[in-house]
């Protein structure tokens, strides 16, 4: 019940601060650009664009959300309510996943791409969004300004995004699947280009485990850097 209230509260917070509007504008922009691309280019760019939404954008959005909450002092209040740290974090993950899934569905639907695995699209967007939101929470825990957050985010971003380039023609790209973002992008490519069922299952299970481990870490970091000030 508390989690449900927290998710609704987060969605309301995100709407009031214009995050939904930004998502709508970005989605429309993507759609306009994608509509001009030939099908061959679209088949490469569409998965990358849909993947970038919950990952790169998600990472910046969670940073902005937590910094706004810190600035208004509401985090101080939330820690003295019965809301658990894990509920606070899950609510951020779920609320941002909902908006990411909506954007991914809209971009994929209106791009009129011939073959989309919709179930896998939803799953991979949720799992990717989870990883980057949890990462954002951990990075943000020790930051008080946008500049601090940006500076701290860059190394993580490089660590997670550069290995994704290995998927473009690198012969040993399977080795990089251990990097969660590479696994997530592989799954996303499978959404549009097809993927063998056991590979998709293995990637989903792997990304689920990564999400779980990051959630445990995020709770620990959140409690040590935000809840307790000792």
């Amino acid at each position: 019940m508390r989690l449900q209230h927290a998710i609704l509260a987060d969605m309301r917070f995100q709407i009031k601060h214009g995050f939904y509007l930004v998502y709508v504008i970005i989605t429309v922009m993507y759609l306009i650009i994608l509509s001009f691309l030939p099908e061959k280019v679209l088949s490469v760019l569409l998965p990358v664009v849909v993947f970038s939404d919950p990952s790169v954008l998600g990472l910046f959005f969670i940073g902005g959300i937590i910094l706004l909450e810190k600035g208004q002092g509401v985090l101080m209040v939330l820690v003295v309510t019965p809301l658990r740290s894990v509920e606070y974090i899950l609510s951020k993950v779920i609320s941002l996943s909902i908006i990411s899934v909506a954007a991914a569905l809209a971009i994929s639907w209106f791009s009129y791409f011939p073959s989309v695995n919709w179930v896998l699209l939803i799953l991979s967007t949720i799992l990717t969004s989870g990883i980057f939101t949890l990462l954002g929470i951990m990075i943000n825990a020790g930051c008080n300004t946008v500049n601090q957050y940006m500076l701290k985010t860059i190394p993580y971003m490089l660590l997670f995004i550069i290995p994704c380039l290995a998927l473009i023609g690198f012969p040993y790209s399977w080795l990089f699947t251990i990097v969660p973002s590479v696994a997530a992008l592989k799954l996303m490519l499978g959404v549009y280009h097809g993927i063998i069922w056991y590979e998709a299952t293995a990637l989903v299970v792997y990304l689920f485990i990564v999400n779980y481990i990051l959630l445990r870490f995020a709770v620990r970091v959140f409690e040590s850097k935000i809840v307790y000030q000792d």
Partner: protein, 284 residues
């Protein structure tokens, strides 16, 4: 309700011993004031009891259980109002109360009634970003009591309020006390402490230097004198008399009978005087 004994606490980062061998207790239904200058350890003690600081030594028993044995359910039973307003600025006053209220099992007090009590009902649908500091402080205060907690922590509850609104907040605190609630008040406003607290503790450099009821402390540390200002033969005169056997003092009785009394005061100490006397430091 709260029992603190041999409490020590050192901040990990600075290695500064913020609390040293602190002992006090707060009874159920009591308004307990924690007085001291900035940096004395008031907020640290409050945070230790609330559970926002760990790794203390000694004992903090609160609501019948050692503090570090409590989980998040502890917050169902307490209300906290910090000394600065922490509100969702893009939400309205009513939405702020509803949002935080939804995290508690206890059914919240009617938000409209609470807002009305602190004069914010007409602004219930106004975004908090358009509120003055005083309005935010009032909203902050009612949010801390809306889930009907048994134990409340108020940090400078009248800070930034005009006298009328400060009076309303003080009235609500006294109503809560009447309803049997326990209140832990942190302040350096002596008038607030005097008006609200059953007992006060003076704290300086992490140590409690004295505890007692404001009235008793003021009498104990005051002079047993009465100052009288009067007009006689066109002149304004002032004189002090010992309180002992005052009714048999012929000079005092003569002034009462024959002069025009302007003012008459007993000379109990103020809480601020006591604090300075005990610690050699000012409260601000």
């Amino acid at each position: 309700m709260i029992q603190v004994s041999n409490l020590h606490f050192t901040y990990g980062r600075t290695q500064k011993e913020a609390i040293q061998n602190m002992c006090f207790d707060v009874a159920e239904g009591e308004v307990f004031g924690f007085l001291g200058p900035s940096g004395a350890g008031k907020t640290t003690t409050q945070r230790l009891i609330i559970g926002l600081l760990r790794n203390y030594t000694g004992k903090i028993e609160v609501l019948g259980k050692e503090r570090n044995q409590w989980g998040k359910d502890f917050y169902e039973q307490i209300g906290v109002a910090f000394d600065f307003p922490n509100l969702y600025t893009k939400l309205t006053a009513r939405e702020n109360l509803q949002l935080i209220g939804s995290y508690y099992k206890n059914k919240s007090e009617n938000p409209e009634e609470l807002l009305d009590r602190v004069g914010l009902l007409p602004e219930r649908d106004v975004r908090v970003e358009n509120f003055s500091k005083g309005m935010k402080m009032r909203l902050n205060f009612v949010r801390s009591i809306m889930h009907k907690p048994n134990l409340m922590f108020f940090d400078e509850p009248t800070s930034g309020l005009d006298p009328v609104n400060a009076h309303i907040i003080k009235e609500i605190i006294l109503e809560q006390k009447k309803a049997g609630k326990t209140i832990f008040l942190t302040t350096h406003n002596m008038t607030v402490a005097e008006q609200l607290c059953d007992r006060v503790a003076f704290i300086v450099e992490g140590k409690i230097v004295n505890i007692g009821s404001p009235k008793n402390l003021m009498i104990e540390h005051g002079k047993r004198l009465v100052n009288i200002e009067y007009q006689m033969n066109g002149d304004i005169c002032e004189q002090s008399f010992e309180l002992t056997d005052l009714g048999d003092n012929p000079d005092f009785l003569n002034i009462l009978r024959s002069a025009e009394i302007k003012t008459i005061h007993s000379c109990e100490a103020t809480l601020e005087d006591i604090f300075i006397k005990l610690t050699g430091r000012s409260l601000l």
